[in-house]
């Protein structure tokens, strides 16, 4: 796989992580990241939907007229979500029950429609598949990162959600005696609740910003006004915003590589 293909795939995991950099799909991210099992399940389900919908939309990109592209994308995305839902319900019911309402809500997850609109409709199926896969794994990584903190520190357990598979959660931060009294309890309960979710989310965004800042910041690309919902209100002719720092860092990195090669 050449570098550009690899970069398309890797972009969605770190540089353009949908949750921590693009801040998309925040609602299911906070709701589902209370346990590691549900985070992984949700991440995998979203990845399958992203992969499938990106490929199909890319295949149909020259057929679907511009005027009905959004309804067509929604139909395709909903089809994949329904497919995943039916398969999980039939063959992995505990995970289906664990995800609950958040599974069908993948249809309205901004990441899925966003990538369809921003990438799949402008690129070939292979690139779209790589983008979908990368974004999906990025979503999973973000959810997993949050879930590790929230479940271990907030719930004090690990492997919660696998009871239907006869795997009991392991209590890490608390112990209950046989008579029901608490022996010790070092949990931080707020992390398991919504406010704690936002707190962990914010901390991870800060960490991600720090990581990407070292690499020169997030390169912002210019894109046209097509598809922008505010186009009719905006007075600009384009929405480009390229940070000088990012540009300088990139040029500097390219020069260093040339020097090394020459040496």
């Amino acid at each position: 796989m050449n570098k550009s293909k690899l970069s398309i795939f890797l972009r969605g995991i770190i540089a353009e992580n949908p949750v921590l950099i693009l801040v998309l799909g925040t609602c299911p991210a906070i709701a589902v990241s209370t346990s590691i099992v549900s985070a992984i399940s949700m991440g995998l389900a979203a990845t399958v939907v992203l992969l499938g919908s990106n490929v199909v939309i890319s295949l149909l990109r020259k057929i679907i007229p511009d005027t009905v592209r959004i309804p067509c994308y929604i139909v395709v995305i909903a089809a994949f979500v329904t497919l995943v839902e039916m398969l999980l319900h039939a063959f992995v019911e505990p995970i289906y029950n664990l995800l609950g309402i958040w599974l069908p809500l993948i249809v309205v997850n901004c990441i899925v429609l966003g990538r369809a609109e921003m990438f799949a409709r402008k690129n070939n199926p292979l690139d779209s598949a790589l983008d979908g896969l990368g974004m999906g794994i990025g979503f999973l990584v973000a959810l997993l990162s949050m879930a590790i903190f929230r479940e271990i520190l907030g719930e004090g357990t690990i492997l919660k959600g696998l009871e239907s598979f006869n795997v009991q959660p392991i209590n890490l931060l608390f112990k209950i005696a046989e008579d029901g009294t608490m022996v010790y309890d070092f949990r931080i309960p707020i992390l398991a609740k919504a406010p704690g979710g936002f707190l962990v989310f914010g901390i991870l965004i800060a960490v991600m910003n720090k990581i990407t800042a070292k690499k020169g910041g997030v390169k912002r690309k210019s894109f046209s006004c097509d598809g922008c919902p505010s186009a009719h209100l905006c007075t600009k002719t384009s929405c480009s915003e390229i940070t000088e720092l990012a540009t300088d860092a990139e040029e500097s990195s390219t020069e260093n590589k040339e020097v090394d090669e020459n040496a």
Binding site: V75, V76, H89, F91
Partner: protein, 434 residues
Amino acid sequence: MFAKFKPTIVLTSICIIVALLLGCVNIITAPAIAKQEERKAKAALYSAYNSGNDVEFTKLAAEELVEYSIPAEIKEVHSASAGGYVFIGVTGSYGGDIKIAVGVNADGEITGVKVVSNTDTANKIQSVLNAIEGNKGKYNGQNKDNLSPVIIAGSTVSSEACALIVDAALRAFSSLKGEDARTDDEVFADNLNIVLDVEGKKFTKWFATAIITGIDAIYTTSATADGIVMVIGDKLIGVKADGSITDTVSKLDKKAEKVATTAEDIAAVEAAYTIFQTAATTEIALPDGAKATVKKAYVTAGGTYVFEMETTGSYADEGEYSHGSGKIQFTVSIGADGKIIDIITTKHGESKNYGANCATEAFYESFRGATREQILDLDISDIIPNEDNGYETDNLPSSIQGPGIIANATFTTVYYHNAVLDAFDAFLKLTEKI
């Protein structure tokens, strides 16, 4: 031409293809899902019966449910090979229907309760589940003689739904054992029919019994040809349309045995019947300026005015947990002396244990003999029920005592009182006193 319709054609085609593909997937997944539902249903049976997998269950046919007069709330009955049954009942709860499995062993004791499905708010139903499910469920071990409903504060509606199904399950068990599982209300309703030799008639209490002495209550149907039933103590004595007096049936006698009516009772019934016939009402036009709460007006030969009323609001209509059950309807009779002779609530949707007290004998008794001035003196007409005073209990100052005061039901009390005052206004207009 094609370009004009292309968007429609493309979108429609995509929808059709997607629908077909999903249909194909459904063919593959449907059997597996059906098996799971069956497995879940079986698991609910074992959970409710509190047994291992060695017990087998046999579902009773629908015809058997009818044959044994199983309560309507019970939708399925599963007979356990170890004796006893599991009853699956459905009733309305806070967010919609709730389906509950109740296990009853051969001795008539509850073995367990399992909520199979519900659409109630998660945190509200969870507290109920914690209380009634599992080995330490609060219903476990109870039977029909010592049944005590488990009501959880903050989840009253869900709790009452569960209690209803548990009670229905125990009654169903009694029916299956050949016992009479009817509630007292059902026995009473059946005996009203039996004493008059009619069947399936719905009886309502006659609103103005208070004008007749020696009789505790009179029950009538919508058809005068059925006759009426008079209640003296716990005795039901019928008077047919031709004036003949029937034998006596005890109010709550499940066997409904008829005994000859005593001469003393016959005399009391005949005297009461004479007054009942003269109390027949004639509908009259509403007076000018009658309030909207006054729906109909009648007058008797003796100058008693009877008003059919409907309040302008109710807790069921507007309260925090309103369920749009409508306003309160009642009938009030005011004698020529300006005092309330009797009052009866004919329809309401108020909350059990609170506003529903507007349909109790104690509530009616509190109004009997009351005058307009006594009700005005309560000075509650200006209280406007709203979310500040109507949603919490005991909002009326405890110092307010008098006719028709329901301590923990501001909405019901205020709307009812305002309507009663409107009835008095109509009475005064009709008697030209204003």
